[in-house]
């Protein structure tokens, strides 16, 4: 029991004194997950919108695929990306393995189905009344898309927040693609895993506190966004 208490005490000490190693892991985590969310939003929002808004052959199959990929294990994504960017893979020459951009690619792939699937669900679930109301103003297709996105803004931001929560807490991709290199690719989750294995509980607990705080903050935001989106109806 003592080692947990002393670990906790030391953890606070590390956080208060901005221990460089701890801060480095936090920094890498925030950088990789923020960048990957930005990329997956850029790719995933339009895809999800089209999937939810337009009717085309094969739409249901695509929706089923993106829904299935929601549950894809992070180590599988890690494995696939590893295969492609390792020296023997087709993109080996770019030397992305064990780099931050490598982690970003993996995490973008992880977040993509979440963004696509949840966006499509939000757009699909858009009330008929909203659609008819917008259509009744005689909008052009571009105006229609802009207006739908704006009307669903709370739901769409919630999609981004949910995906961020998944990416920030994942360990498989960061470990396999990043390689857990101190000062470079060591993220909060890979650091916790390593430090715990080494018996260094303090740093593990400190980073755990940070991760839980981020998760709490995200859920807090989600709660308000969902409430906002509901009021709107």
């Amino acid at each position: 029991m003592d080692f947990i208490l002393s670990g906790l005490k030391e953890a606070f000490w590390l956080l208060i004194n901005l221990d460089p190693e701890t801060i480095s892991a936090i920094d890498v985590t925030l950088k990789s997950s923020t960048l990957s969310i930005i990329f997956s939003l850029i790719i995933g929002l339009p895809l999800g919108f089209c999937l939810g808004f337009f009717n085309f052959p094969g739409r249901k199959a695509l929706k089923l695929l993106s829904d299935t990929l929601l549950a894809i294990p992070t180590v599988v994504v890690g494995l696939i990306v590893y295969a492609f960017i390792s020296n023997r893979g087709p993109f080996g020459s770019y030397e992305l393995l064990y780099t931050l951009p490598g982690i970003v690619i993996g995490q973008t792939i992880l977040a993509l189905p979440i963004i696509v699937s949840l966006t499509a669900t939000a757009v699909e679930g858009m009330e008929k009344k909203l659609y008819f109301t917008l259509a009744s103003f005689g909008l052009t297709t571009t105006q229609m898309i802009q207006s739908v996105v704006w009307e669903l803004r709370h739901a769409l931001v919630a999609v981004g927040v949910a995906a961020y929560g998944r990416v920030v807490a994942e360990v498989g991709i960061a470990m396999m693609i990043g390689g857990n290199i101190k000062w470079f690719t060591r993220t909060i989750t890979t650091a916790i895993s390593l430090e715990t294995n080494k018996g260094e509980f303090a740093m593990g607990i400190a980073l755990g506190i940070v991760l839980i705080s981020i998760a709490f903050l995200l859920n807090f935001m989600l709660y308000f966004l969902k409430k906002r989106a509901r009021i709107a109806v």
Partner: protein, 346 residues
């Protein structure tokens, strides 16, 4: 004669196997206020959505100002505004909701005065409501803002689907005035679907009845739509708690069927008759309107009976003898044979 805004011919739409609209012929003149009457599921809302080009018909002709859906230019399409039942406000402030249609049309002139005018018309104080968010409004206020955001466009055609649904009693006159203002000042053609027959008779210049997606094949001045209850060999229609009319089951009035009575087949008298004929319906009511029909030198009297209004037409000589006036209590009577039931194949 004024030009036709809408021309419909053999318009047909099916939901699966079931025909929801099957209109042989309908023409709507510019500047008229047309009331659509019919029970739930009679196709009123569907017809309005077709007229707004929000839903496509499957066969037949639907022309708006000479254009069909495929050739309708966006600018002409934007002359039509529809207020859906339980209107949806955009997740923005009242001002932005009203501004939306203008923005979409790229209109930038006289924005502020137009927003003020629209809010004034629906009876909302611009100062108080302008910056309220969508979720800070009651359902009645939402309805008014929704109408204001259509009125601000000065539409050439205004389609209203159950517009008085969420309004309380005091809100209706303001709404009526706003609609009449659009019609008189801007020449807006208005088509209203409503269950509120009393209100509809007040505002509409013409009423048509819909029945299972079909237009009723007779005059709808005295169209009575509602539930008939069965009792023995007869079906009863209740005007209020104490007054009803009945028809034998052989008339084949379905629960949802409407009936109509020619206003000239209805007689009006001040007192209840001492002798009641068996094949005649007698109802007590209160006169709401007395109008002189100059064309035929007749008097049109609108009599409120319970939640219904019956129009009776009498000769001017008859009126000179009895001097009917609004708020007067009268008896109307008509022979049961005057009650017209639409044929199923109408």
């Amino acid at each position: 004669m004024k030009p036709f805004v809408y021309e419909l011919q053999n318009l047909r739409t099916l939901y699966g196997e079931k025909p929801v609209l099957d209109i042989h012929s309908l023409k709507v003149e510019e500047g008229e206020i047309l009331g659509l009457v019919g029970a739930n599921g009679s196709g009123k809302s569907t017809l309005l959505r077709h007229l707004a080009f929000l839903e496509a018909h499957q066969s037949g002709k639907l022309h708006y100002c000479g254009f069909d859906a495929s050739s309708l230019p966006l600018a002409t399409r934007r002359d039509i505004s529809i207020l859906l039942p339980e209107p949806y406000l955009l997740k923005r402030t009242v001002r932005e909701n009203i501004l939306f249609g203008l923005k979409v049309r790229g209109e930038t002139r006289n924005i502020e005065p137009r927003i003020h005018e629209a809010l004034d018309l629906v009876g909302l104080l611009p100062k108080k409501f302008m910056h309220r968010a969508w979720h800070e409004l009651s359902s009645g206020e939402t309805q008014r803002v929704a109408l204001a955001s259509r009125l601000v466009l000065h539409p050439k055609t205004l389609l209203l689907d159950e517009p008085t649904n969420s309004l309380d009693y005091s809100g209706i006159p303001q709404f009526t005035d706003a609609i009449l203002h659009a019609n008189r000042e801007w020449g807006t053609t208005v088509i209203i679907a409503s269950h509120d027959l009393l209100w509809l008779s007040e505002i509409a210049t013409r009423k048509i009845g819909l029945h299972f997606g079909r237009l009723m094949d007779f005059s709808t001045t005295n169209l009575i739509v509602g539930k008939w209850r069965e009792e023995g060999d007869e079906r009863f229609f209740d005007f209020d708690e104490t007054q009803s009319m009945s028809l034998p089951k052989s008339y084949r009035i379905g629960e949802k069927r409407g009936v109509a009575i020619n206003p000239r087949d209805i007689s009006i008298s001040l007192h209840e008759p001492e002798l009641r004929k068996e094949d005649t319906v007698y109802l007590r009511g209160i006169i709401r309107d007395v109008l002189h029909v100059t064309k035929t030198n007749e008097i049109s009297l609108k009599v409120v009976i319970g939640n219904h209004v019956l129009e009776c037409i009498e000769s001017f000589e008859y009126f000179e003898r009895y001097h009917f006036y609004p708020s007067q209590s009268v008896t109307v009577n008509f022979a049961k044979s005057a009650i017209k039931v639409p044929s199923k194949e109408a």
